[in-house]
């Protein structure tokens, strides 16, 4: 790589007259002549400082606040009544529904992500083929990505209403449901949760499909040609040549989906929020029940810390596996 060194007299002169840092060192060049030093860091602050303030002030500091609050006793009206050690954590873990909720969270994430990836692999295969109108189909796939998840979920919720819901009517019309008024899918936790999974898969498909499509572009045409020459059929080519090439795209898609699905609130909030009890909750909806219904911000913080640690572990795996920094 022909890195333009910034040792040119003009550059050096400019740098002397103006004590600015890193005089035009190309990051990707690597061999640039940046002098590490406090002065450079200081001079970078006007540029990256505002971003740092935002990240520290609104992302990292709240995390600290959350850790701190998880050890405090905070009254319903919000008054901090002092330290309680790990009592909030004990309350979280001794809640009789905690382990079912924990298990359900795993089911939620695993089923949604697995189904999303499998369906997206098929969708990407269709969208990668040439046919008239492909552009329109690709754009249609984006719609659930851009649309509010709350609103997408609400139309499904309406559709599942007994008597007047349009999905129920359809299921009755094709004979899958034999009661004329349909079935109260959103009235019991198990079916409401199952439909929530369907909605979660639906709204996760666009990102996943697009990521896999991007991965498919990296499969070299010559390799496919070669496979064809060697007499490999389409299925063999897909398993042997295409899928291995998709490994990094799939790793990214899976990990980002795990994070998104784990953090997802709106779908379950709409679909199962009006069902009493805790038989359709995940960790995330439980956090919001602690905050909103029970006004226990301290216990919510303790559960949030548990969730936060889970997320951090996933992020660590992401950084190890995907190595997003390698491109910088």
């Amino acid at each position: 790589m022909s890195t333009t060194s910034d040792a040119s007299p003009i550059q050096a002169g400019a740098a002397e007259s103006r004590p600015r840092p890193g005089r035009g060192t190309e990051p990707k060049g690597g061999a640039g002549g940046a002098r590490p030093g406090g002065r450079d860091l200081l001079a970078s602050l006007p540029w990256i400082g505002p971003a740092l303030i935002l990240i520290f002030g609104v992302v990292l500091f709240p995390a600290v606040v959350m850790f701190y609050n998880s050890t405090r006793d905070i009254s319903i009206s919000g008054v901090d009544k002092g330290s309680v050690g790990l009592d909030n954590y004990i309350e979280v873990f001794s809640f009789p529904y905690f382990w079912p909720i924990f298990g359900r969270t795993i089911v939620w994430v695993v089923v949604v992500v697995a189904a999303t990836v499998v369906i997206s692999l098929g969708l990407a295969q269709i969208l990668n083929k040439a046919f008239p109108g492909r552009r329109i189909v690709r754009l249609a796939v984006i719609v659930p990505w851009a649309a509010s998840v709350v609103m997408t979920t609400m139309v499904v919720y309406y559709g599942l209403e007994p008597y007047f819901g349009i999905i129920n009517k359809f299921l009755v019309d094709i004979g899958l449901v034999d009661t004329p008024e349909g079935y109260g899918w959103t009235r019991n936790p198990a079916t409401a949760f199952a439909w929530s999974i369907v909605v979660a898969i639906f709204v996760s498909l666009p990102f996943t499909t697009y990521t896999i499509l991007a991965g498919l572009q990296t499969v070299p045409g010559e390799v496919l040609e070669a496979a064809k020459m060697d007499g490999a059929g389409p299925i063999r080519t897909y398993w042997g040549v295409v899928l291995p090439q998709l490994r990094s795209a799939l790793a990214v898609a899976v990990l980002i989906n795990i994070i998104n699905v784990f953090n997802s609130l709106p779908i379950l909030k709409v679909m199962t929020g009006s069902i009493p009890g805790y038989d359709a909750d995940t960790i995330m909806t439980m956090i919001f029940k602690y905050i909103q219904n029970q006004h226990k911000v301290d216990v919510a913080s303790a559960l949030s810390v548990v969730a936060f640690i889970i997320v951090i572990v996933i992020v660590a795996v992401y950084v190890r596996v995907v190595k997003p920094m390698k491109e910088v």
């Binding site: 971003a51 740092l52 606040v65 269709i126 991007a214 980002i256 994070i259």
Partner: protein, 302 residues
């Protein structure tokens, strides 16, 4: 510098070129093309179906949409729903719309203001802590307001900013910063350094170089960052739900959930508002379609 084009530029160029090539050279049989079109049509239908149901519902009367024997298609088209819905009693929808717009616009502006200098500087200069900064950006991308809501709630309570637009503007800006930094970073990194140098030799200052030389070249990256941030803020739900307690302050995403579980939900209004809220952002997203993946996956897929 062997200029590496921004990673995502390579993501989706195939549309035109690849298609043309395959049609002419590979001679795909007509039957295969028809099967592909059929599959494509089914995919299209499935993906827009919920929004078609929404649209049909939005022009039905309350009696029709709650009818015990519902019809798939509207019998009559009640366009007046799109006017009447704004005065529904459940929630002050005009204020909710204004709230959504104000929060999204200002959060997007803030992101732009903060992310652009950071993206430019990290793409152009090496400085101690640069990798740490970029690492921090990637980690924030993986964090979402939902998991931090209880901390955010207590923090903004302490700042006396609970139930304010300002709080949501900061939250939305902070959590969408990483996408904007990342996408603009890769665009800035793609500009040949010689372009900058030439301008500097001509005596232009660094800021002037940024505004007159670099910005026009990274314009697509900026548009992508603006659109993505705007749409994400537009649809934000979890933090708004807890931070904004007054009905009039809430964005549409939160306000609409109040209709669920009501004794007699006015679904036609829910869907009318949804259509109004969804159509503009879908169009915006379609504009940046080809660059979405690059920004989200930090360039690790290309």
């Amino acid at each position: 510098m062997a200029v590496t084009a921004p990673a995502f530029e390579t993501i989706a160029p195939p549309a035109a070129s690849a298609r043309r090539r395959r049609y002419t050279e590979d001679q795909v049989p007509l039957g295969t093309v028809l099967i592909r079109m059929l599959a494509g049509f089914i995919v299209l239908a499935i993906f827009i179906l919920p929004y078609i149901i929404m649209f049909f519902g939005s022009v039905k009367t309350k009696a029709q949409i709650r009818s015990v024997d519902p019809t798939y298609f509207p019998q009559e088209w009640h366009w007046e729903n799109y006017i009447d819905m704004w005065s529904t009693p459940e929630t002050p929808l005009p204020q909710n719309l204004i709230s959504t717009i104000v929060i999204s616009v200002f959060a997007t502006l803030l992101v732009l203001l903060v992310a652009m200098p950071a993206a430019y500087y990290t793409a152009r200069f090496k400085f101690p802590g640069r990798m740490v900064f970029l690492f921090l950006v990637i980690v924030t991308q993986m964090l979402q307001p939902a998991v931090l809501t209880s901390g955010l709630f207590r923090q903004f309570l302490a700042f006396d900013m609970i139930d304010t637009w300002a709080a949501m503007i900061f939250i939305n800006a902070a959590f969408n910063l990483s996408f904007a930094v990342w996408i603009m970073h890769s665009f800035f990194a793609g500009i040949p350094k010689e372009v900058d140098e030439a301008a500097q030799i001509d005596g232009a200052g660094r800021l002037r170089v940024l505004f007159t030389i670099s910005l026009p070249l990274v314009w697509p990256g900026i548009v992508t960052a603006i659109v993505f941030t705007f749409v994400a803020c537009w649809n934000e739900f979890a933090a708004s739900l807890v931070i904004l307690s007054t009905a009039g302050n809430q964005p549409l995403s939160v306000a609409l959930t109040k209709f669920v579980g009501q004794y007699e939900t006015s679904w036609q209004y829910v869907f009318g508002v949804s259509i109004v809220a969804i159509v503009p952002v879908v169009i915006l997203f379609m504009i940046i379609e080809k660059r979405l993946v690059g920004g989200l996956t930090a360039g690790s897929v290309k």
